[in-house]
Amino acid sequence: MVMKLVRVQTELGDTYIIAYDQKGEIDTVKIGEKELKVKYLGNGTRENEYLFEINGEIYSAFIEPDGTLIFNNKEFLRLDRIIELPVKEGERVEELIRGKEGEVVSPLFGRVVKIRVKEGEAVNKGQPLLSIEAMKAETVISSPISGIVQKIMVKEGQGVKKGDVLIIIK
């Protein structure tokens, strides 16, 4: 099964790599580990309204003049852009979705207060690597995998942005 692959950027700066495949009225959409089956039910009773079904629940999607999507008149989503990504033969969609293995990225904007590991050290999955202070609170970043700390990219006291690579574990 060859799935189509897109990179979706929301207005809020979140990027998702999403794979999808259409079979008749049902789209299979893969976001990260999650797989959703979206059934297209057709036009709604209002202009610019479309109906979908996920897990037996019906959702109405409405498009505003500025492109804002409004769901069930409650939730909304504003997309920045959708970029189609070419899928080469032999490349696994799963790998493209998950990103490079072993890179520990900062989940937030803050300042590194304490690094608890050294380069060359072996770490277990879930072991605390470092703490980042943001908004008066310390967040402990734990290792996502077991392995050896290859490189520490930050120093204590350094400010980090969301998405910055902190540590590489192999």
């Binding site: 189509k4 897109v6 979706v8 207005e11 809020l12 998702y16 999403i18 999808y20 259409q22 789209d27 959409v29 976001i31 999650k34 959703l36 979206v38 297209y40 202009e47 610019n48 479309y50 979908f52 996920i54 959702y59 999607a61 498009i63 505003e64 003049p65 500025d66 492109g67 804002t68 999507l69 409004i70 769901f71 008149n73 409650k74 939730e75 909304f76 989503l77 504003r78 997309l79 959708i82 989940p107 937030l108 904007f109 803050g110 943001a134 908004m135 008066k136 609170a137 310390e138 967040t139 969301k162």
Partner: protein
């Protein structure tokens, strides 16, 4: 007669606008101050006059006493309202304002200096017979001493920074093994935030709830308490949802804390608005006094809705030296109010503050809804200040009704451009534990995993539908059939001629 002619509001955002509304209603002129980051902010536009006070960092602008007083003198303001946060509880500021011949809307520097920190507040509370938590009234020097004190009063205990505020440096310790590390951490946090490392210990309440009373006093020793607010829904000791009256206490207990609050006010000759914060245990039915906030609170709105008092106007009048216009017996609780703090924070990412332009903005309206907002479409939310951008306050004849209004209003409130706490509040309002009112201050931290799963599911569902629409080419809105205006010919004979000429039939 308005008590002043021109009032400067030394604050920004939502509260600056709220205070200016009161100033305008009283027939006075409102003066704003702004930093470079707030050049185009709504509070600057809303004021009658506005003065620049410095670059974006708060230390150089909204915390710059000299610049603010300069602005007040330039504007010929005869009073300054500090709002909350920033300089509102700084006795040096109150003193500088008084020295410049301007009235400070709040308690005097002399009153503020009577309680310099939390520990001193606790001492006064004990003296005034206000219920406090067991624990010594002095800072703890070492881990050994901490262990000894904790053993005496019994676990769980709380470590607190004496010079602290806004919940910084507060750590709960459940057993002796955790104490040493927590002690160092609390010390470090306290020192980096306030430049003081004094820590004290007190007994922690079981299943704690946060309840506070609204103390109101004039300069002549008259006091009333506009009942209580419950602010139990917090994360990291920062309040998120507040309501009044508290669903957890009965009238006897309410009377007890009202009387205790008045005794505390009398003890220090407090005047204008103050908030007495207590932690309440629904298990032992005990109140422990925490601290007194010497300013108008973020959550003053819920008290306004259930009592019908405009607290900000009253605060201005009391600061001007007027007498309290009513007594405790005049005050009644009517209905129930809930406030939601709309923060520009990402609930999925450890509540990281967000910054950006507001690209989409729909405010809820209708029965039982009040919005105190500091933003509008196109406003920039700067990263330098508090992430609170707006407050949604809902009112109903009972708590159940208020919750219904709340969910509807949150569904109607749509803010684009920055992530907000709105989606989280919608989930809380659908939680039976919230309906019953049995939650404690640990509610958010205990339930956050569940809420995050729910929020992520919602996000994925929205994305999946968007992709499905993209795949089917539905993301573009259909071209609207614009209603063509009826073209009115000046002369109807012209139409007659044209139809005749275009007619294929030749009549002659």
């Amino acid at each position: 007669m308005p008590p002043f002619s021109k009032v400067l509001v030394a604050n920004r955002g939502e509260i600056a606008i709220r205070v200016m509304k009161a100033i305008k209603e009283m027939g006075m002129k409102a003066v704003a101050v702004y930093s470079d980051a707030d050049k185009y902010a709504p509070h600057v536009k809303y004021a009658d006059e506005a003065y620049w006070i410095g670059p974006p960092p708060a230390l150089e602008s909204y915390l710059n006493i000299e610049r603010i007083i300069d602005a007040a003198l330039k504007a010929h303001a005869d009073a300054i309202h500090p709002g909350y946060g920033f300089l509102s509880e700084n006795p040096k500021f109150a003193e500088a304002v008084e020295k410049a011949g301007i009235t400070f809307i709040g308690p005097s520097a002399e009153v503020m200096n009577k309680i310099k920190d939390k520990l001193e507040g606790k001492m006064i509370a004990r003296k005034a017979g206000v219920p406090t938590s067991p624990g010594p009234l002095k800072p703890i020097e070492s881990v050994d001493e901490a262990l000894k004190v904790a053993e005496e009063i019994g676990y769980p205990v709380m470590l607190k920074a004496a010079g602290g505020g806004a919940g910084v440096g507060i750590i709960r310790v459940d057993n002796p093994n955790e104490l040493a590390e927590a002690f160092e951490k609390s010390k470090r946090l306290s020192y980096s935030a306030f430049g003081r490392a004094e820590i004290y210990i007190e007994k922690a309440a079981i299943k704690p709830k946060h309840i506070e009373t609204q103390l109101i006093g004039d300069k002549y020793g008259n006091y009333v308490v506009a009942f209580e607010r419950e602010c139990t829904i917090q994360r990291r000791n920062q309040k998120l949802i507040e309501e009044a009256p508290s669903p957890s206490i009965n009238w006897e207990e309410r009377k007890e804390i009202i009387e205790a609050s008045i005794r505390f006010g009398k003890e220090i000759s407090y005047f204008t608005l103050g908030t007495m914060e207590f932690v309440f245990s629904p298990v032992t039915r005990e109140f422990y006094f925490l601290e007194i906030n010497k300013r108008v609170q973020v959550e003053h709105t819920v008290t306004e809705l259930i009592t019908g008092i405009d607290l900000v106007k009253l605060q201005i009048r009391l600061a001007a030296g007027e007498y309290l216009p009513f007594s405790q017996e005049d005050l009644k609780i009517r209905g129930h109010a809930i406030q939601f703090r709309i923060n520009a924070e990402d609930p999925l990412n450890n509540f990281t503050p967000q910054s950006g332009y507001i690209t989409y903005y729909k405010e809820p309206t209708g029965p039982g809804i009040r919005v105190d907002s500091g933003v509008e479409l196109g406003t920039w939310v700067p990263p330098y200040y508090d992430p609170l951008i707006s407050k949604l306050i809902v009112y109903g004849q009972s708590r159940d009704y208020a919750i219904q209004v709340g969910l509807r209003a949150l569904n109607d409130y749509k803010i684009g451009g920055v992530k907000t706490t709105i989606p989280l509040y919608k989930l809380i309002l659908q939680d039976p534990e919230f309906w019953e009112g049995t939650f404690t201050t640990a509610y958010i931290s205990e339930k956050m995993d569940y809420f995050m799963t729910k929020l992520r599911e919602e996000e994925e569902r929205k994305l999946a539908i968007a992709i499905s629409m993209y795949n089917r080419g539905l993301l573009k809105r259909k071209k609207e059939e614009t209603q063509k205006p009826v073209v009115k010919n000046k002369n109807n004979w012209k139409t007659y001629g044209i139809t005749l000429q275009s007619s294929p039939r030749v009549l002659w």
